[in-house]
Symmetry: C4
Subunit: 256 residues, 4 copies
């Protein structure tokens, strides 16, 4: 596999869908919200994306079978006036610099093919400290969007220059802007140390309000605990498979 | 050499061969088993694979001559009803992210060209602690295979979500599944600190039982000691050739 | 986006323009000078450059909107006998080894297309210690240029072999020389710990003298403080988005 | 510059030349010997090689002018029955994994174009401890060559499995063997901490004996001191240009 592969599993007709991105990141906030929405809204998988830019890895499930690392896109038709949705979820972001640009471009190509005009990139804003009551910070591709998000309760850092957003969320904003798309980043404030269901429910609350789609929150906390366990197991596995001996994957700094 | 090179050294006729992969990894368990099987079963080399994704390195042998870092595939015709085998062995896995995907795809292409329907990827499951009696953990591409392996004494982590397998073994499972192949990973439980002949003999015992091929174990411990020495020497050599001085291969983080 | 993209925003007619490069580096000296010149001289943007070699990142501005990481080229017609100028500014240099070579080649292609014959690459010379009175160190592609710069007050390390310049500034010198261009590097002596307006004003003073273009210095100190804040915020943001949990962008050293 | 560039500066007629490689490595032993031979034997430069795989860097010379990082090949016609020589020297080896393979393949292509049948790759064997009297360790592509080198006083690690040689020297052995060339690696035993003229003179003594070419040793010690200074300055410069501030070349591990 020398190139990123995009498998279209199913065709769907969507009208002016809104795209939502929730790949792993700080506090796994975005992933928690997006995975939750896919489940609660019974979205159907339409696209699978495999790439040599993802970590060369499979995840082992409870039943002993495996899943190849990938990103997926789910579709959900709105009911009663709700907007149609395209939701990007996945196991990992790119492990290489150029991979981030390539994968984001593919997401934007898919968005444009479905005539998406607006994208919500979900993530976490890590403070390094535990947070009592979370809130949702934002960034967007235009002043009008910033003002619109403020009316929805999203906070923006006023009069503070600087800061950045890295990875697919950042590039959806930057490269999306170059394509004339409206992109908003919603970041749940979190310590960054845990998979944070409070930060996720704040982002979900705001996003639900914006979209006008009700999403039950009950399972969110349970899902966060499950995700925390899986992440812990992955970290444990990664330490267990660390190649201390020759023949492993060490930085090559030994030149003769 | 800008591309991975596959040299077909010899043609063989095989009937429904089973592929076995044993490249370096945790505890070098997989490598120990596969190298041992190649020797004990007098398998013949049919393919050599060189790649710019491997570490840029040669190994120096006892007699002062050298071997270029490579992966090799050996073939062995089954006797008395035993299955035909294709065995992947090698010095190193890929040193680059995309290299893992490329090399695994090449192994799968070769598997499909020989009409392989089942692959056993061998490795170690590192616990970080010394293990009295080893056992064999497993993962597979389908529930049916999981159940089949359980009857062979392979252990699976029940009701524990998460965990992963990285490198060629993981990708053989993940990308193999995408091609409709049956792939099983057998991992000998080991500390991860040594080349572990006990873990290797457990994996070999289980694999022999599954394949119905008897493989003498006598030389396994001796082979483990030999491998331990070579690995130790490689690590010593790598430290000896560390480029502390300018002109070596240091991370370039100095931007002007 | 698999390739570096060069957007020509505007056509300009320039006569024998001089190119000035001020991308981020030691003490951000070069960036401070170049950004300042673009503002003070009311230069107009003519080219934007995006690349998968840049960090996959957007910067968040005070007003909550975003800017995709990029490099830009500005043009300014000289007044009253001043030379025409092309000024390269940007957010980041390349994050990959080959990216530095590719981006510098693009800058040189653009220089040649505008019939540039001389390039000034601006940077900092970090001493690791705080400097009372800064000075400007130099390097150039020919002895004649070295002598010319000495008459302008630029210092050269006499009789001291060695030393190097890394990144775009270095490659503009090296690859520029291969194309027969005259390239001079001016480096403001600085600790390297701060965004240093003193080092920047020394470089600006020397460069203004060489070009015969007066550039007001008043805003330089204010601009340095602003840049310092943005950089601090970026570092804070980068730490805040650090992926301690699985699914983040960790070195893949775990081979099985 | 997206590809490695090979500039043929001059045509020469050589008869059965022997190729010698002396790029930077442990103790800079190989580089010291090769640079010294080029000077003492008045070899003429015939080829320059630039590559996006080299560090993106220029070296600053005593006189303030610069040299782009490159590798060079020099030619020297033998006198009085001496063999013709092709000598590879340079500033750096590749900074990327694939670059090592690409550059070595280019060296071998050039060797074959000049009908080279034998290559001596020179380097250092680092012990981590100061060495009173140096010696020369070896490795080669065939048993016959090993025996031949033993008669010349080269030492081989008897009955000790393992060890490796990394970088261009290693790949010249490994990839050279694949092309049917005779390749010998001569490594001067050294601590690895200094540019070591003693280790270099041992290698030079052995090589001179093998080739039947007298090379004056007088300047070797002076050259070692000069090289030590340049390397020290480069390391100092690299530290001076370290990008602690945002906008520098930091590992991108911050995913949002």
């Amino acid at each position: 596999m020398k190139e990123t592969l995009v498998f279209r599993i199913k065709d769907v007709d969507l009208t002016d869908p809104i795209m939502i991105e929730g790949l792993p990141g700080v506090g796994h906030v975005g992933k928690l919200v997006a995975d939750h929405m896919v489940e609660e809204l019974h979205a159907e998988k339409i696209i699978e994306i495999y790439s040599p830019h993802f970590p060369p890895q499979v995840m082992v499930k409870e039943d002993g079978t495996i899943k190849q690392v990938k990103n997926e896109i789910y579709a959900r038709r709105g009911q009663n006036g709700e907007p149609d949705l395209l939701i990007i979820i996945g196991d990992y972001q790119s492990a290489t610099n150029e991979g981030h640009y390539e994968l984001t471009s593919i997401f934007l190509d898919i968005a444009e093919s479905y005539k998406v005009r607006r994208i919500y990139a979900l993530g976490g804003y890590g403070t390094g400290q535990f947070v009592d009551k979370s809130s949702v910070m934002g960034a967007a591709t235009s002043i009008e969007l910033v003002e619109e998000m403020k009316t929805q309760g999203v906070l923006f850092q006023e009069n503070e220059p600087g800061g950045g957003i890295i990875g697919v969320s950042g590039l959806l904003l930057g490269l999306g802007a170059l394509r004339g798309l409206d992109v908003i980043c919603l970041m749940g404030v979190t310590s960054g140390y845990l998979v944070d269901p409070k930060a996720a429910s704040e982002v979900l609350r705001v996003l639900s309000g914006i979209l006008g789609i009700e999403v039950g929150m009950h399972a969110l906390e349970e899902r966060a605990k499950e995700m925390e366990k899986i992440i812990g197991k992955l970290q444990e596995m990664e330490r267990a498979q660390s190649p201390f001996e020759a023949g492993g994957d060490e930085d090559l700094r030994y030149i003769g």
